[in-house]
Amino acid sequence: MAEQPIALRPPEHRVERRAIGLWALQSLIGFAVLAGLLTAAYLIFDGARSWLGPILVVVVVWGAVVTVVMPLWRYAVHRWEVTEDAVYAVSGWIVREWRVVPLSRIQTVDTIRGPLEQAMGLATLVVTTASSRGAVKIPGIDAQVAARVADELTKITQRTPGDAT
C-alpha cells in the first residue's frame, strides 16, 4: 500500500495477524469440500471423466493459489477505523472496497463469530444502515475489541434521533 489508489488515507487500524490463518483455513476448507465432491464424482462416473478431469485440475490449482495468496493480500489491504462521525473500512483483495458510513445513519451494530473465529478469538463487526447495500463488514478483529466497539457504537446511535433513512 505504498501509494493510494484514491485520494483517501487508509483507516487507522490493521486487522489481527491471526486473521491470515482464519482466511487460509476458510479458503482451504471451502476448496477441500469442492475438490472432494469433484473427486468423488470423478471416481463414480466413468463416462464423465474426460471433462471432470480438467475441471478438477483447475479447481485444485486455483484453490492452492487462492489459499496462499488471498490471506496475505487481504491482510495487506484490510483496515478499519471508527471516528466520532463515521465508520471507515477497507476490504477485499482482487476487488478492493472502501466503505464510509456516518454514525448518524447506522441502524444496527452486530458482532458475528463463526466456529473458526470463536476458536481463534476473532470476530466480524457488521454495521448496517437502512440501505440494503450499505452494510460495512469488518472481519478478523479481536473479539474483545469488536464487542467494545459494538457497545460504543450502539450507545452513540441510540442518541441519534430519527429513523436514519
Binding site: E3, Q4, P5, I6, A7, L8, R9, P11, S50, W51, P54, T83, D85, A86, Y88, I94, V95, R96, E97, W98, R99, V100, V101, P102, R105, T129, A130, S131, S132, R133, G134, V136, A164, T165
Partner: protein
Amino acid sequence: MSTEPAVTDTPDPASDEPWQRLDTRVVWVDAAKTLLSMVPAGIAIAFFGAEINWGTMAPILAATAFGVLGGIADLLRWVKTRYRITDQYVERRTGLLVRQHRSIRRDRIRSVDTSAKLRHKLAGLRVVTVGAGQHSAAGEAALVLDAVRTETALRLRQDLLYGATPAAPAEAAPRREQADGQVLARLERSWVLYNMFSIWAFLMAAGLLWGTYWLLRMFGLDPEGFVQGLADWDAIGTAWTIVIAVAAVGVVGVAGLAVAFVTENWRFVLQRVPGERGTVLRTTQGLLKTREVNRDDNRLRGVQIAEPLLWRWIGMADTTVVSTGLSMWSTTPSAQILPRGPVSVARRVAAEVLETTPSPVDRPLRTHPRRALRRRAGWALTTTAVVTGLLAWLTTLIDGLPDGVWFAGLGVLPVGLGLAVVAYRALGHTVADGYLVVRSGAWARTTAALQSRAVVGVTFRQSLLQRRLGLVTVEATTAAGMGGYSALDVAAADAVELADAAAPGLLTPFRVATAAAADDPVAAQARP
C-alpha cells in the same frame, strides 16, 4: 398517532377496540363467483351436448373445480378474518388451520392503497393494502384487507394516513370530485404505440390462441379444419406458410398487448394531492381492475428514467420514483409513476415531481474517461474468448459436433463490442442542486437522480484491472429504491471529489490532501 419511543413494540391484547369483520358483501361476491365458474361447463353440457369425459373436458372441468374451491376457500377466509384499528396499531387475524396475527404500528405506515377487480367494483367493495416500508424490514408482507366497502376504504385511508377523520361529508363526496390536486400527467392515446410492440406479443398470442383452440374444441367445433380450409397451404409452400403464421400470430399478439395496455391504464392520471402530512403522488388507473396508489412525498428521494436500448430510437422510457418504503421488486409496481411512454413526457414529469428547475435528469453529465471503454471492450473480448474456448473444448469431447463449431463463438465479438460502445456512451455523472445524478446501462440506459440528503454511506470499489486503468466505481448507498446508485468507472483522481459532493462532509476527515493537491495523489502521499 404518537411517534414517541414510549410506544410498545407489541400490540396491547387487552385493548378494548372491537374486532371487525370484512364486509358481508364479500360472501355474495364469493357465491356469485362460484356459480359463474360453473357456467361454461354447464353451457357446454346443456346446449352443445358435450360428453363429460376427461379428454375434451379436462380444462373446463379443472377450471370449474378451481373456481368452486376458490369460492369456498374465500368464504372460509371471510369467516375467519377480523381486523381492528387501535390508537397505535392496525391488526388483522386470519387463517383457518394456521392462525395468523399481523400488526403494523400506525406511525410506520407509509402507504394505504386501494384496488378493485371488476367483481369488487360491481359490489361496491375495495381491497385495502396497508404498507409499512417492507423494503428495509426484510420478509415483512403488507397487510391486506380483502375487501371492505368503498366508504370504509376511503375512511381507513383518511384515518391511517392523515390521522383524524374529517367531517362526514368528505366521505359522501364522489371520488372524482377530489381532483383538487395538481395533475402532472394523463394517459395519452399515442402511448399505446409504445406498449404494443414487444417480444411478449408472441407469448401473449400463443396463450390466447391455445385458449381459443381448447374452447372451440370443447364446444365441438373444429379449429384445425377451419384454418386448413382458409387457403391452399400446399400451393403456398412451407416457407411462406411459416411467414404467414408468424405474421398472423404477431398481429394477434400486438392487438392483445394493445388491449391489455388500454384496460390496465384506462383513465390513468398522475397527480399531486395535498394531505395532512404533506402531499402525496397519486396514480389512478384501470378499466376492469382499478388501482390507486399513493406515494408519500416525504419519502420521495429522487427519480429514475430507464430507456431500453432497442426502443431508444423512438424515445421510449420507464419512469419510477426513488422512494423509501417502495420496493423495486414488488408485484404491483408502485414505484412506477408513468406507463411506458415517450421520454420527453418522462423528463417533464420527473422535473415536476422533483420540483427542481432545471431538472436534475436534464443536467449535462460529465463523461467518463476513455479508459472505461477499454474495460468494456475487454469484457467483450473475454466473453468471446470464453465462449469460443468452451465450444472448442466441447467439440473435442462430443464426437457428433462438427469441428468448425467454435467458429460460431466469434459471432459474439461484434455484438459484445457494440454493447461495449453503447455502455460506455451511457456513462455519465454529475452533482447539481443537491442531487447526485448517475447514468449507465447497455440494454437499458438508466438515469437516476438521488437527493444528497438520502445518501446513507459511500462505497468505492476497484478491481485490479480498474486500478491499472485508474478507474473507480463510486456508489452512494441509500434507504430508498435500489439501495445504492453507482457511478461506474469514474477517473480515480475524481472519485473522492464526486463522493464528497454527493455526501458533503462525510469524507473530510479521511481525505489525504486538499483539493489543490488532490490532482497528484502520489505526490501528496509522499509527504509525511
